[in-house]
């Protein structure tokens, strides 16, 4: 059915509401990539089987990621007249238990994480409410509003959550100019990393002369450990399509591309389905909502080069050329895809747009700090209790993210640094923990907002090794076009490897700093321009660790293999013999189960003995 008027859109939304809140039990299993990886698919099969056995009338649906990766797979139960109940660690076994309890007419709250209010009801369960769970307490979901709630394959469910109403509003009540104004007034800034005001970018493209224009969605999320965009595409693909359609209307474009990396097969599948559904419903394609505005979206699949997340490289790649950046100006808004004015925005940016249009710029601008509005999704990973996707209002402090939402450091260790902005972000030490998170404040520390990666490091992390690790990644991913990035990163890595191997020299640090500054200032694109950040920030905040490596030939965190020595504290040893059995190089010699000798020359510093030793008798220096 093609939707051409508002009553039809309302009808679609009502259909979605019926499916979101059916008059019998609805069970939803998170089967996005993260859920599937922890057994969500098996849980889904188990639920299906149990439901059939018990003969329950259940609406079984799949959904996207609800953010709390630590407790995946997540399963949700909704019974008529009750709030939604979220179950954690719902693998196949626990899923069966849940369904069996439901079959007995009982809500198994002992397996549940929390309940999510619907109509203000307050159940009698001894269970925290959604916003009483520390992980969710400080979050504000705008971009992830539908992820983990709706079935991403269901257009009606998206419409039921207000979906495509913003596009309707833009097309029927607003001029293209007004849409751009609204986005500009909202203060939305690019979520891909650079933080360029989206409204200004749109205006540049709008005003560029040209009969044909393109809008592009950058879904080439390449930062290791970052998966915000994947969650949006897998959990709520229509929000990106709607955002792009609104942008296209505002900029006078009729063709859009989503550049999505091929490593996201599920995201591609969901997008293909969403595009097909939207076309059938007349929300994409010729004459959207029966109006004079036409807009269609094509998928372009990326081959996985990190540099293709840079917009000029991305456009080259869509054109079928080698993914290499070009100097700006000309900006894509002036000369982009096939020489036509082109607007490139990140997934998260696009997903913000429908909410801004439907709820108004004033509402959006009321969230955040003076320079950075709205929310930002971070993927909180590393040595932190609760890992997952967190969407927080701008201006929240790092401490709140790491300690309140993240629950603090794993294993009671001490916090050392948090790295924001992916491999080319900087490492921020504890003295900046009370820093409000926004674009400017993060830049001031030498780091970047980036696309939203956030890696927490504890005292067992060697900062020289961290810098080395990230530069190794960037060396692999530099396209090699310009000299500072290609040669500079390689040389910096060479020096860092030297330092990690205990062969560092006094004069290495000034040279490292000089290389880093030149690479940052002189590189052609953002990859080289930000690549030295891990080096520069660790040099600035953790110089003592560099000095310890170079002068004392010591790795304070006991990470750099060439600089650490293992030994056994025989006083603590409980003679279990596990280390003798495990040591792959025969460095631990013992009689029966009692270690008697540690042969330093044979030790390959793999750390296996350290992990297996229960009484912590292995010493590392």
């Amino acid at each position: 059915m093609r939707i051409v008027d508002h009553t039809q859109l309302e009808e679609l939304a009502r259909e979605g509401t019926r499916s979101l809140c059916p008059d019998h039990t609805r069970i939803t299993v998170g089967t996005a990539s993260c859920g599937s990886a922890t057994g969500g698919r098996e849980a889904l099969a188990a639920v299906r089987e149990e439901v059939a056995t018990a003969g329950l009338a259940v609406d079984l649906r799949e959904t996207g990621c609800i953010g709390y990766c630590q407790v995946e797979p997540v399963l949700e139960v909704l019974r008529p007249g009750e709030p939604r109940v979220l179950f954690h660690h719902a693998d196949a076994h626990r899923a069966r238990l849940i369904v069996r309890a439901l079959a007995e007419g009982r809500m198994p709250t002992e397996l549940a994480l929390c309940w999510i209010p619907r109509n203000g009801e307050r159940p009698e369960w001894a269970l925290p409410r959604y916003d009483e769970v520390p992980f969710y307490s400080k979050q504000l979901k705008i971009v992830l509003r539908n992820s983990g709630v709706i079935d991403p394959d269901s257009l009606p469910e998206y419409a039921a959550r207000g979906g495509y109403h913003a596009l309707w509003r833009a097309l029927t009540e607003m001029t293209p100019e007004e849409v751009a104004d609204e986005v500009e007034k909202a203060g939305l800034r690019g979520r891909g990393g650079a933080g360029v005001p989206t409204g200004r970018k749109w205006r540049l493209c709008r005003d560029a002369p040209g009969d044909e224009k393109f809008v592009v969605c950058n879904a080439d999320e390449g930062d290791p450990g970052a998966y915000m965009d994947r969650a949006v595409l897998e959990g709520d693909p229509h929000s990106v399509l709607e955002g792009m359609a609104i942008g296209a209307y505002s900029m006078g474009s009729s063709q859009g591309y989503i550049y999505v990396r091929d490593e996201y097969p599920l995201a591609i599948q969901k997008l293909e389905r969403a595009i097909a559904d939207a076309r059938t419903a007349g929300l994409l394609g010729r004459s959207v909502f029966g109006s004079a505005f036409s807009f269609d979206v094509h998928l372009a699949r990326g081959g996985g080069a990190f540099v293709c997340g840079e917009e000029t490289s991305l456009l080259q790649s869509i054109e079928g050329k080698m993914g290499e950046p070009n100097q700006r100006p000309p900006f894509p808004a002036q000369r982009g895809l096939w020489g036509k004015p082109t607007n490139v925005n990140n997934v998260e940016t696009w997903a913000n747009v429908p909410e801004i249009v439907s709820r108004g710029s004033a509402w959006y601008a009321g969230i955040g700090t003076p320079s950075s509005k709205g929310t930002k999704v971070f993927s909180l990973v590393g040595k932190v209790q609760n890992t997952g996707l967190v969407e927080v209002p701008m201006g929240i402090t790092l401490r709140e993210i790491v300690f309140d939402i993240g629950g603090g450091i794993l294993g009671g260790k001490k916090f050392k640094a948090v790295q924001t902005g992916g491999p080319s972000g900087g490492c921020i030490p504890d003295r900046f923990l009370d820093l409000p998170v926004d674009y400017e404040e993060l830049n001031r520390t030498g780091s970047i907002m980036g696309s939203g990666g956030m890696i927490v490091m504890d005292e067992g992390t060697c900062m020289v090794d961290v810098a080395r690790y990230f530069l190794d990644f960037l060396r692999e991913e530099s396209c090699g076009k310009c000299v500072p990035c290609r040669e500079g990163i390689e040389r910096m890595l060479e020096i860092l490897e030297r330092i990690c191997n205990g062969e560092g020299r006094e004069e290495d640090l000034p040279l490292l700093e000089e290389l880093a500054t030149t690479t940052k200032d002189f590189s052609l694109c953002g990859l080289g321009g930000t690549a030295p950040n891990p080096v520069l920030t660790t040099l600035q905040y953790f110089r003592d660790e560099y000095d310890a490596h170079i002068r004392e030939h010591r790795c304070p965190a006991a990470v750099c293999k060439a600089l650490v020595h293992y030994s056994i504290d025989y006083a603590l040893c409980d003679d279990c013999g596990a280390c003798i059995k495990l040591c792959p190089s025969g460095a631990i010699v013992g009689e029966a189960k009692r270690p008697t000798e540690f042969i330093d020359e044979k030790c390959i510093k793999c750390g296996a003995c350290l992990e297996v030793c229960k009484p912590a008798a292995i010493r590392v220096q």
């Binding site: 991913e477 310009c482 000089e514």
Partner: protein, 438 residues
């Protein structure tokens, strides 16, 4: 003509010039390695980076690719610039210790020595060879392969290139001598049994010349003369790419290698016959073609100036296509019969209208304008004043449509609207009589 300041000197440069060109125009030298005035800016060596102050912001920008804008204040040798420049040269010297050009630069900039472990690459990946092959010669026999530290210049799949003309332009532009043309590619061509066309023949400069010297060009008189006569590598003079590029006169395009009839038709020599179509000027006048009605069947004779076909246009208007020369109609393009809009959509390609076997080709073709970019110095082809003719036609059009409100033409003289739809029957007849002769 923007005026900007370069190290305190005022530079006024033509629209579209780069900051590098502006700096060099006032005698400020900026070192470059990947820049070549005949090639598109590539911006890879970053050596030409300068500080540009504009609108209260100071940014580092590669001057070779940065368009000069009025009011810019450029510092070509600030401390920040020089420090980075030295570092870049130091990195390059460490990569290619055997390239003399880098040592000269290092000496000039005072680059410290011996801080980085030397590698042994001759190629600095400046990309000039790749660009000259693609943008001047037009064969793209070489390109970049690999990524990052493994990046290198190579032929596709690193197998001997079949496209390479062995013209040697890549070797000519290489600043470090990393491409040894004479010994590699020429050896391979020598080993082939194919007719040994001279490399200048392959470049389209000398028709059908075979090499009598077993490709030992240093023994060849022609080769010795070529560079002398051209003053640069002959590929830049011959530039097959530029010769094949459409010529644009006042916004109207003229394809290369075709004859143009004053009634706005083009004629292109095919193997046995001549192919005919309408030119860019005509298609912009007629707008959309609704129907093509040929007056002659294939096989029939047609005399020069006789009506060959009628074009039915919007608003009941028509236009006639007159035969540019006499001969036998060979065929009518079936594509335009099915989709007449092709005539104005793709006038030079799929939208050709018919083919004619001429009765007296030589004399009649000579009376047409010929659009072939001349190769200077060698004077292989003399260019006819095709440019002047188009200029005159545009003026005629402007004169005919002058004083109408709203303006039917853009400032350059391109129609803004579909003329058959807005002009009265009388006006349209005047138009067709003036420009199409009927």
């Amino acid at each position: 003509m923007p005026t900007l300041s370069v190290d305190g000197k005022k530079a006024t440069v033509p629209e579209g010039a780069t900051v590098l060109e502006a700096a060099r125009s006032v005698g400020q030298d900026i070192p470059t390695l990947c820049y070549h005035p005949e090639l598109r800016p590539y911006g890879a060596c970053r050596l030409c980076t300068v500080e540009v102050a504009q609108g209260g912001r100071v940014r580092l920008q590669a001057s070779c690719a940065m368009p000069a804008e009025a009011g810019m204040e450029v510092s070509t040798a600030s401390e920040r610039v020089l420090r980075g420049r030295r570092m870049i040269v130091e990195l390059l010297v460490a990569r290619s210790p055997n390239a003399p050009v880098l040592h000269e630069l290092a000496a000039r900039l005072g680059v410290p020595e011996g801080r980085l472990k030397p590698k042994n690459e001759l190629c600095i990946l400046c990309g000039q060879c790749v660009a000259v092959c693609a943008e001047i010669v037009g064969v793209s026999a070489i390109g970049f392969a690999g990524r990052g530290v493994t990046r290198k210049v190579a032929t596709p799949f690193e197998s001997p290139s079949l496209e390479c003309l062995a013209c040697g332009a890549c070797s000519f532009v290489c600043p470090t001598g990393a491409i040894d043309m004479e010994r590699t590619t020429l050896e391979r061509i020598k080993a082939e049994r194919s007719p040994r066309y001279c490399r200048y023949s392959r470049l389209g400069m000398i028709p059908n010349a075979l090499c009598p010297n077993a490709y030992e060009c240093y023994r060849c008189d022609v080769d010795q003369r070529m560079e002398e006569v051209c003053g640069t590598h002959p590929a830049f003079v011959a530039s097959p790419v530029r010769r094949a590029a459409p010529l644009e006169v006042r916004g109207f395009q003229l394809m290369a290698g075709r004859y143009y009839h004053p009634r706005h038709l083009w004629v292109e020599r095919q193997s046995r016959y001549l192919r005919i179509g309408v030119d860019d000027f005509a298609r912009r006048l007629v707008g959309r073609v609704l129907e093509v009605k040929p007056t002659r069947e294939p096989g029939a004779q047609v005399g020069a100036g006789e009506v060959l076909m009628e074009l039915r246009l919007p608003n009941g208007r028509t236009a006639s296509v007159l035969a540019p020369l006499s001969g036998q109609v060979e065929s009518i393009n079936a594509d335009v019969m099915v989709d007449p809009t092709l005539v104005s959509k793709a006038p030079y390609t799929r939208g050709w209208v018919c083919a004619i076997t001429p009765s007296a080709e030589a004399t009649e073709l000579a009376s047409l304008y010929f659009r072939e970019a001349a190769i200077p110095y060698l004077r292989l082809v003399q260019s006819e004043p095709v440019t002047a003719w188009v200029e005159a036609e545009v003026e005629k059009l402007k004169h005919l449509l002058a004083g109408r409100a709203p303006d039917l033409l853009t400032e350059r003289g391109l129609p803004r609207v579909t003329l058959p739809e807005v002009l009265s029957a009388d006006d349209w007849q005047t138009m067709t009589r003036t420009f199409f002769g009927a």
